[in-house]
């Protein structure tokens, strides 16, 4: 699973996924592959969900393709142990989250045909907590 190699602080404020947030101002174009999966919502996606989506996608395309993961979980999510009384400080880091906004390209694929890519991306999207959309890269200068 993806996680930062080292961090300046173990625990940070993690923010919130606000509904109706502004659209992604960066990372909103298919830049590496031929097809992409974009998020239609604002949400925080865990490293485990990203990994599940990647596995679903790579298993479906089997061989011949290449997959890019465009998001990285760098927000620590802490949790107090079960049956613990309140107080005694903040809980310990439990998992890592990646923030996505509407329009963020989360995954990209190249080297496979459009039908296979669309199905692979659909399977990956079903592993994620956001509504998703399949997008095709438009090469400049072609009508």
């Amino acid at each position: 699973m993806l996680s930062p190699k080292r961090t300046k602080y173990r625990k940070t404020h993690r923010g919130r996924a606000i509904p109706n947030a502004k659209r992604a101002q960066r990372g909103n174009e298919v830049s590496f592959g031929d097809y992409g999966l974009i998020s239609m919502e604002n949400m925080q996606i865990s490293a485990r969900q990203i990994e599940a989506a990647r596995v679903a996608m790579t298993r479906h395309i089997k061989r011949g393709g290449k997959v890019w993961i465009r998001i990285f979980p760098n927000i620590p999510y802490t949790k107090k142990p079960a049956e613990t009384r309140m107080g005694k400080g903040k809980g310990s880091p439990e998992k890592w989250l990646a923030a996505v906004k509407p329009g963020t390209v989360m995954f990209e694929i190249a080297g496979v045909d459009v039908n296979l890519a669309e199905r692979a991306v659909e399977l990956a999207g079903s592993k994620l907590p956001v509504k998703t959309k399949f997008v095709v890269r438009h090469h400049a200068g072609w009508d």
Partner: protein
Amino acid sequence: MESTQLVAKRRETINKGSTRALRRSGRIPAILYGDGVLRAVSIDAKEWAHSFQYASGNKVIGLKLDNDEYKVLVKDTQRDILSGGVMHIDFYAIRAGKKLSTVVPIHLEGTPKGIIEGGILEQKIEEIEVVCLPEDIPDFFAIDVSQLEVGDSLHVSDIPTPREVEIRTDVHLTVVVITHAKAVEEPVSEIEEEVVEEIAIGDGSEEGAE
């Protein structure tokens, strides 16, 4: 460079409300600038979608506004990233005989040998920035990629360019590369393994608590 016609109307009020009303009425707000001109205009969305939707920055368009006609380039197009609709367009008025900076798309020609062997073609750069006279703007730069094998790449310096066109993009940048396709590795996913481990640990702790 072939030229095409587009009819624009002048915009009288320029604010958020009027711009939104304009979009609802099937027009796209735009601005025309350059060569001593600065006008807020609007164009028909259907006409744009029909002929100019994928117009790149090097296509000279004849923009009719009132009784004047301006030769323009599309400098910028703002799109809604979720719906794909065009929100706003920047038109840059050009003057014949005056050098300008624009971008020219790269067209890849042929199927690389490396793809037949199982490689993947990655295009790193779509457009190249050039400086030239308006009449010398090329439609596109064609690169033959049919001889590329897995591991081969082409750079900006490999693109054949006419003498009158000056390239502004870094010539060392990679335009296209043929990479290896990755084989699928894991028969059992890491996630499944970790879930199994966690369940085992969870069971132990619960027993201990009891």
